[in-house]
Symmetry: C2
Amino acid sequence: MTEEEFLKNYDSNRFFKPSVTVDSIVFTIRDEEIENYRKLPEKKLQVLLVKRAEYPYKDKWSLPGTFVRKEESFEEAVQRSLKAKTNMEYIYLEQLYSWGDPKRDPRTRVISTSYMGLVNSEKIHIKSGGSTNDASWFTITLNSVKEKMNENKHGYIKEEEIDIILENKNEIIKNKVKVVKELVNGNQIIYTQILYSELAFDHVKMLIYAIERLKNKVEYTTIAFNLMPEKFTLTKLQQVYEILLGKTLLKANFRRKIANMVIETEEYDENAGHRPSKLYIFNKNWQSHIF
Amino acid sequence: MTEEEFLKNYDSNRFFKPSVTVDSIVFTIRDEEIENYRKLPEKKLQVLLVKRAEYPYKDKWSLPGTFVRKEESFEEAVQRSLKAKTNMEYIYLEQLYSWGDPKRDPRTRVISTSYMGLVNSEKIHIKSGGSTNDASWFTITLNSVKEKMNENKHGYIKEEEIDIILENKNEIIKNKVKVVKELVNGNQIIYTQILYSELAFDHVKMLIYAIERLKNKVEYTTIAFNLMPEKFTLTKLQQVYEILLGKTLLKANFRRKIANMVIETEEYDENAGHRPSKLYIFNKNWQSHIF
DNA sequence: TCAAAAGTGTTGGACCTACACCCATGT
DNA sequence: ACATGGGTGTAGGTCCAACACTTTTGA
């Protein structure tokens, strides 16, 4: 038999075929309410969720996703699913991880490849109709509840329980996971157990994974600039970094660090009750050490 | 209809289902021939390949892989495929990327999730029978042929042509790819085009991707120790780092850098025609900044 | 006037790079 | 004896954390 003959007679059902979806974890950073006319508004990390219109998990919130169509790449499928729910287009997306647990979907075996997206929310307007087929930003609050650490012969195990609270104006979605970080012969292995989740499927795992990746990438890439508007003050940029890294930074040091990643403009942000701040734009030619 | 009813009546063929495979890129570092009794043997990065026994790409070399079975996780599938070809068990594996291009397999649509593995080849004995259903280590030689760089309004584009030569005692497998690294608003986007490949499918893309990831991870993890035997001299460890990083390192500086990752033993490597060198073991409790 | 943020300068320490130098071995 | 790798010390520079300080605005 020739290869040509083989391909002509190939029966695609010879091997088991699962369903395949893509899911996206799209982050933004948005202002919370202002208390004081002089103070800068507080910012919060938010994630895009959609309300499921159909079974399973009907009326539950979930990450936006879709089944991958026959002639469509993963990237095309993700973009299509985001455009269907919001007017997002050409946003920054990055493949994160593929979830293959045989039991992760109650319908049948479904494999999902997750993508992380970052947007500046000022550019995006969600089609929020108030119906069940709804999309909304939810602020993310993480609380590490309990930590346990044990050494063993291979290295050690750290267990951490995390409460993940997702909130929008009307709703609150509670989740609790146990994150186990194990060091086996120097290799860090992380796995997550869902203890309680009001999100659909294993989406809270995907969310935790994406947050972790985001935090890592902030330190050695310019990924955070995807969350910024075109023109911004350095203090606002610093706020974004502080949220992503989960710690406060010293102003003088921060400015030295990002000095080459930004370009000064002649414009100022005025009428703020304090000294006007210069507006900066991202330096698109900033070369990381990668090149 | 309740969720229970929905699930009972769910038709898994409602959405398109592709085939799903896993493929693994397993690296090792092994000695080349010795020329001089005093000199250390040269080391080379190698990758595990198997010869395809069936169509498509019959008799071509490919990365070891398998279709994922109905009740099996990705990790189980990868381990099963490696054990079938070699006696590898419990090796270090890490999920890399999922390849979803609709045309990547000539049979039907096949999605593949690739895993990277690292082993110390002294521990592994490949079942190499000389038949068509064979497995073998191939040394990897990379040659960057041509580079082109252009600036545009978003950032810049760098194009690089790379020859990937894979060799074992009897055979030589030639490949040529074009790697395009694009900087779009500060986000690095990499895509690879196959210009010529004697490997099956898009496996040369997976290989290039894995090499890239390996090089990156060497710098901020202890991943390289997976390639070492239990006891080793610091010079041999340095050789491994030099191969992975693709550059020579200064001895004194290298030793200071890895000082805390290793533990001195009382044993020596003798009879080498020069001063005996102390043997070290990996410090399994070395803490990276991650924890 | 003054709270709040904008913005800059300095200092000490940690770490990295490059180089120089001596030590021990077995053929 | 000597080539070869084993092993250590030092000087100079860079980068970063921590802190102190000055400037500017608008209610």
